[in-house]
């Protein structure tokens, strides 16, 4: 299923995901990519194994309270927490994203940001931001660069920029040195998940007018 993905997550992102030190928006990006990419999932789970090693081999342990086991059994007897309802497979949104959208692709609450491009900001806590982008077939997103890191993953359709061509599951990792103008393929509207850990800055005067709408 994931053979066609060309652009993957980096080891440092996967290790930080395993260690639990990413902002929520980046966790969402990683979980979404892992849903589509078994190569990265295997790498992420091998970083989990390092965590298992750290847990097992940490020098000193801390004794539990005297009644701890009995208390835990009482906790267990209360029953399992109610599992969240299982999401159905969706051809565009992997389940972690469905949780944030509150449904499937038809439930995304798009806001127009100009030139037919739409976005939906997803509710995440922390310093980073996650949003879904809708780019009409054949449309270019304004040239912009980044103060921090921006990850963009294709969910539907494909886009090209100065770097390469990106299709479903591919992640483009852009740091502050990259100025790019992603253009959606002509064949299909493109939907992406984008996360940033710092505001974007646009390079031309006009697109800067969009910034209040972009909330960036």
């Amino acid at each position: 299923m994931s053979n066609k993905i060309k652009h993957h997550l980096t080891d440092d992102l996967l290790m930080a995901y395993a260690a639990g030190s990413l902002p929520e928006a980046f966790d969402l990006m990683v979980a979404t990519h892992l849903s589509l990419c078994d190569d990265c999932r295997a790498r992420a789970e091998s970083f989990d194994a390092v965590g298992g090693h750290v847990l097992e081999e940490q020098g000193d342990v801390v004794a539990m309270n005297e009644k701890s086991l009995a208390e835990t059994m009482a906790l267990i007897a209360k029953g399992a927490p109610i599992a969240k309802p299982k999401r159905a497979q969706c051809s565009v949104l992997p389940t972690p994203l469905q949780d944030y959208v509150g449904g499937d692709v038809n439930d995304i609450r798009w806001r127009p940001i100009g030139m037919g491009v739409k976005q939906a900001i997803l509710p995440t806590s922390g310093d980073a931001m996650a949003r879904l982008l809708f780019i009409p077939a054949g449309t270019a997103v304004p040239d912009h660069s980044h103060k921090g890191m921006e990850l963009t993953m294709v969910l539907q359709g494909a886009f090209s920029d100065e770097v390469d061509h990106f299709a479903r599951g591919d992640v483009e990792i852009a740091d502050q040195d990259l100025h790019h103008t992603p253009t959606a393929d002509i064949t299909e509207d493109c939907i992406c998940l984008a996360v940033t850990d710092a505001p974007l800055k646009f390079n031309k005067l006009m697109p800067r007018l969009f910034q209040p709408f972009l909330r960036i």
């Binding site: 980096t10 080891d11 440092d12 290790m15 930080a16 395993a18 260690a19 639990g20 030190s21 990413l22 929520e24 980046f26 966790d27 990683v30 979980a31 892992l34 078994d38 190569d39 999932r41 295997a42 790498r43 992420a44 789970e45 091998s46 989990d48 194994a49 390092v50 965590g51 298992g52 090693h53 750290v54 847990l55 097992e56 081999e57 940490q58 000193d60 342990v61 801390v62 004794a63 539990m64 005297e66 009644k67 701890s68 086991l69 009995a70 208390e71 835990t72 059994m73 009482a74 906790l75 267990i76 399992a80 927490p81 299982k86 992997p94 389940t95 972690p96 944030y100 806590s125 922390g126």
Partner: protein, 218 residues
């Protein structure tokens, strides 16, 4: 029904085990012998059976043994991650309760019990200490029809033992940085310099397990 259990259970003999366990018959084939830690490989493999006994028979004796081993480690892990002792105690209990409730989700062809416990404890830390949601990848639910082969379980144990050897052989400074990373003390940018870890073989093993799971799902 469980409220009568108390800590005395910890000292009681464990339920009778089958005389021979197929996955213990094979010892580590390729793993290097490690400084006197030869027993711990078996001990780890044994936890797999403990989780199965909880899953299949709600075996409280098996749980008590797992608790005795893992709960103090989870508590220490959470304290090192910045929790105060009272909260760490409470969270360690919740992590162990989650282990009980989710025993049917544990896949021993992809993770050791220690790794699985780590992921539950890590998620608890994100939830309680960082007050953040933790998005998880799409579930690769596996039913009884996809229950892993013993050979795959053994192979994963062996790869994990080799990973342990490799990590133990790293320079002290690097080992400390890895610990810091997993206690949540390094930002993702600081982690970037720590990623040259010897994970190739265990990664391939987990990848095979994922392939089999995908195959069983289709």
């Amino acid at each position: 029904m469980f409220t009568e259990i108390d800590t005395a259970t910890l000292d009681e003999p464990v339920a009778i085990r089958p005389a021979q366990k197929p996955w213990r018959a094979k010892k580590r084939i390729r793993g290097k012998p490690v400084n006197g830690a030869g027993d711990s490989c078996d001990a780890r493999a044994e936890w797999v059976d403990h989780v199965r006994r909880i899953r299949d028979a709600q075996d409280q004796a098996a749980f008590a043994e797992l608790f005795q081993h893992f709960a103090p480690r989870i508590k220490a892990f959470l304290i090192k991650s910045g929790s105060d002792p009272a909260l760490a105690e409470e969270c360690a209990q919740e992590v162990m309760a989650t282990l009980w409730h989710k025993a049917h989700l544990f896949d021993p062809a992809r993770a050791t019990v220690a790794t699985w416990v780590f992921t539950i404890a890590r998620n608890k830390r994100i939830d309680v200490l960082r007050k953040q949601r933790r998005p998880e990848p799409e579930d690769l639910g596996w039913g009884p029809e996809a229950e892993p082969e013993q050979d795959d379980v053994i192979a994963l144990q062996q790869e994990t033992a080799q990973l342990r050897d490799a990590l133990s052989a790293l320079p002290e400074a690097q080992r400390q940085l890895i610990e810091k990373a997993y206690f949540g003390d390094l930002s993702h940018r600081e982690i970037a310099s720590q990623t040259g870890l010897p994970l190739g073989t265990i990664k391939s093993r987990i990848r095979l397990a994922l392939d089999r799971l995908r195959h069983a799902m289709n």
